[in-house]
């Protein structure tokens, strides 16, 4: 089970890196979204997989009676999902605004902050 998921995670990473190497902002953002999912899967798998034993304590007891699935990675993944979701939403709006203002979504053509014809510093008095 872990092996299968590891392969899947590797695939996710490969796809996300491929997309992030692109020049189009939208593709980069999609790459980031996939990267976030890859990381979530990775954390989930790193916490070891246990099937069909939910970490629930029976009503009359105060401790777990048997080895159960690890609930902590799920809490971590939930946190990471919420964070990456909000960041993705923000970056999407930002990229859209940038596209509207700068008229391009090509990272190579975004040279407003660092203009290509930037003058050299003064060489003498």
């Amino acid at each position: 089970m872990e092996t299968g998921l590891s392969v899947l995670i590797g695939l996710f990473f490969a796809v996300s890196v491929y997309l992030m190497l692109s020049r189009q902002l939208v593709r980069i953002l999609l790459g980031i979204a996939i990267l976030g999912n890859a990381v979530n899967l990775l954390i989930f798998t790193a916490g070891r997989l246990t099937r069909q034993v939910p970490p629930l304590i029976p009503e009359h007891l105060y401790t777990l009676v048997e080895a159960t699935a690890n609930p902590l990675p799920q809490a971590l993944v939930l946190t990471a999902i919420v964070i990456s979701f909000s960041f993705f939403a923000f970056l999407l709006v930002l990229a859209f605004r940038a596209y509207q203002e700068l008229g391009t979504d090509d990272a190579n053509e975004m040279r407003v902050a660092e203009p290509e014809d930037d003058p050299l510093p003064p060489q003498g008095y």
Binding site: V82, S86, A89, V93
Partner: protein
């Protein structure tokens, strides 16, 4: 999108969804549910109202800016951690209080206040994004 059927139903649907979101929020006390999903349901209720009746009417209906709502939620979620200072315990330690009212016991605890804060944060943040996107669509 703004058919007459949708516009007629949307206010009732919104009211029902917000009621349901509060139910989910309170259910999270002991059973599956809680502030996060409750907040999502309430935010989608506002989004539906926005699609049907326009963003300005949603903004008028909730009176304050959604970001202020989110800030308020963050504030009370933080405040929920503070009472334990007076019991010589660490930050965010759960405090219980049991009220007797109307002939039944009501357990009140600080995590519920925290959950209420989460509810407002989610409603505020999600609906501010949703409303901003809907506004853009219309112009």
């Amino acid at each position: 999108m703004r058919t007459i059927i949708f516009r007629t139903i949307a206010p009732y649907l919104t009211a029902l969804m917000i009621l349901f979101s509060i139910f989910v929020l309170l259910r999270g006390h002991n059973e599956p549910g809680g502030g996060f999903i409750g907040g999502l349901i309430a935010a989608s209720a506002l989004a539906i109202y926005g699609i049907a009746c326009g963003v300005t009417s949603v903004r008028r209906a909730i009176r304050v800016h959604p970001m202020s709502l989110a800030a308020f939620g963050l504030l009370i979620a933080t405040l929920a951690g503070l009472p334990s200072l007076f019991f010589k315990q660490t930050f965010m330690t759960t405090q219980f209080i049991t009220l007797h009212a109307f002939g039944t016991e009501i357990d009140l605890m600080t995590p519920m206040l925290f959950d209420l804060g989460v509810y407002f944060v989610v409603v505020g943040a999600i609906s501010s994004i949703a409303l901003a996107l809907e506004e853009r669509e219309s112009d």
